[in-house]
Amino acid sequence: MSAPGTRRYICFYCGTVYDEALGWPDEGIAPGTLWEDVPDDWLCPECAATKADFALDEDD
């Protein structure tokens, strides 16, 4: 399994990937932001699913 800082989380609904290394700068989340530090009210930028709808990419 990937180490913190390199993990990827996938949106159940649309497949959008949150990559910890890249963060989500357009939404104010800096590169390197760990998943647990992403705000709980953050929504999938593509489909508005909640943070709870993302799951760790176990294939990494």
Binding site: F12, C44, E46, A48
Partner: protein, 405 residues
């Protein structure tokens, strides 16, 4: 207008005369027509005395709030109606958290992006087969020949039902969802349950690799699922799987048939299709949800009382101009049109939406490659039929057989 009766907690300026099951639809624009009726009253939250009397939320913010707030809103009743139904609750949709979670996890595993990846390829093969079957004819009845065929056949593969049952199931699902009378809808619902439970008995005796077998074998809190919730689960699967994508495809096809510029854009630039798919989902939601108020709550300047019903029209999220500029216009280059409530929201967001999105995208890709130009048959008169899910009942399309590829 005569005064409409309303409970004491409903301010008079919030009252409109709106019947979800009988309101005027302009052409086939079910969503735009509903929006126009709600926009005519400037208040944020409305109330109608029809169908037992219920609130109506009409902004993206309120739609999201109601769907996300499980402390004040319950999905134990999901339709605005005066009718009393004795059918088992649809599981997990009509269970509040945390009780819904173990049932939902079962469905979620079967409909995950990974699982759907494989199904998508099957959906593509079947789409091509169907389109190739009629493209040289120069015409088709889109709903029967494609919209009700593709998603229903794929769903039947997931749950392991025989292909020859498709016409029967399509017919009773339509009657259960939009039958003309309560008696007709209940009778069809009972037939659907009977069919589902017969399959459950078969799979108990001879389990396979299908979703019904998975559900039959599953344990919740260490025990097999009892027949009552199991019936509700199978019924939800059948209603969700048999009706919704078919209905959405009808709205997609009628839009493309009547908008040659949009069609051309996608034919010339297929890379736009994934975003176009999200944009069409935003513009043409088909589901009108409802929740029961669990505990008194303030919303949009009114007090909603426990026991009252709230209608949650999913089109009012994607068609809210505060969220999407010029919302009635379909713009395939729109930025992030997918952030909408077309599939609902909160803990009950549609578990089949990954598969639905995939099937809809495949339709756009494979249809436009083969039949790039088509229109609604002149003189035909397609109509919207709606209860809590809107559909186009028949859509005759025509094209020049020489133009197909």
């Amino acid at each position: 207008m005569t005064a409409l009766a309303a409970p004491a907690n409903v301010p008079p300026d919030r009252v409109i005369d709106f019947d979800l099951y009988d309101f005027p639809v302009e052409g086939l624009d079910y969503q735009g027509s509903m929006r126009a009726l709600f926009q005519a009253n400037p208040a944020e939250v409305l109330w109608t005395p029809r169908n037992g009397g219920h609130w109506i939320v009409k902004t993206n913010a309120d739609v999201a709030k109601v769907l996300a707030d499980n402390d004040h809103f319950s999905s134990r009743r999901i339709m605005v109606t005066e009718e009393v139904s004795d059918r088992p609750p649809l599981v997990p949709l009509q269970l509040d958290p945390p009780h819904h979670a173990p049932y939902r996890a079962l469905l979620q595993a079967a409909l995950s992006p990974k699982a759907v990846g494989k199904l998508g390829e099957r959906a593509r093969e079947l789409s091509i087969e169907l389109i190739d079957g009629f493209k040289h004819d120069g015409h088709c009845e889109f709903i029967g020949q494609f919209a009700q065929h593709l998603p229903i056949a794929i769903f039947m593969e997931i749950v392991g039902l025989p292909a020859e049952d498709r016409p029967y199931l399509t017919e009773i699902a339509e009657a259960a969802m939009r039958g003309a009378t309560e008696a007709e809808r209940n009778e069809a619902g009972a037939k659907l349950m009977g069919y589902g439970m017969a399959k459950v008995a078969e799979r108990r005796a001879n389990p396979g690799n299908d979703l019904i077998s998975t559900i039959v074998r599953a344990e919740i809190e260490g025990k097999p699922i009892e027949d009552f919730p199991l019936t509700g689960m199978i019924l939800l699967l059948l209603l969700g799987g048999l009706d919704t994508v078919a209905s959405t495809l009808g709205f997609y096809a009628q839009f493309l048939a009547t908008h040659p510029e949009h069609r051309r854009q996608l034919v010339e630039n297929p890379d736009l299709i994934p975003n176009a798919n999200e944009e069409l989902l935003r513009r043409f939601p088909i589901a009108i949800l409802a929740r029961e108020v669990k505990a008194d709550v303030e919303l949009g300047g009114v007090t909603m009382k426990a026991g009252e019903m709230v209608m949650v029209p999913t089109p009012m999220d994607g068609l809210d101009e505060n969220k999407f500029a010029d919302p009635l216009t379909v713009d395939f280059a729109r930025v992030k049109p997918g952030a909408n409530s077309t599939f609902g929201g909160g803990v009950h967001r549609c578990v089949g939406s990954v598969l639905a999105r995939t099937e809809l995208r495949i339709f756009l890709e494979e249809w436009l490659k083969r039949i790039p130009d088509f229109q609604v048959k002149p003189g035909s008169n397609p109509r919207v039929s709606a209860r809590s899910v809107a559909t186009i009942t028949s859509l005759e399309l025509v094209w020049d057989p020489a133009s197909v590829k």
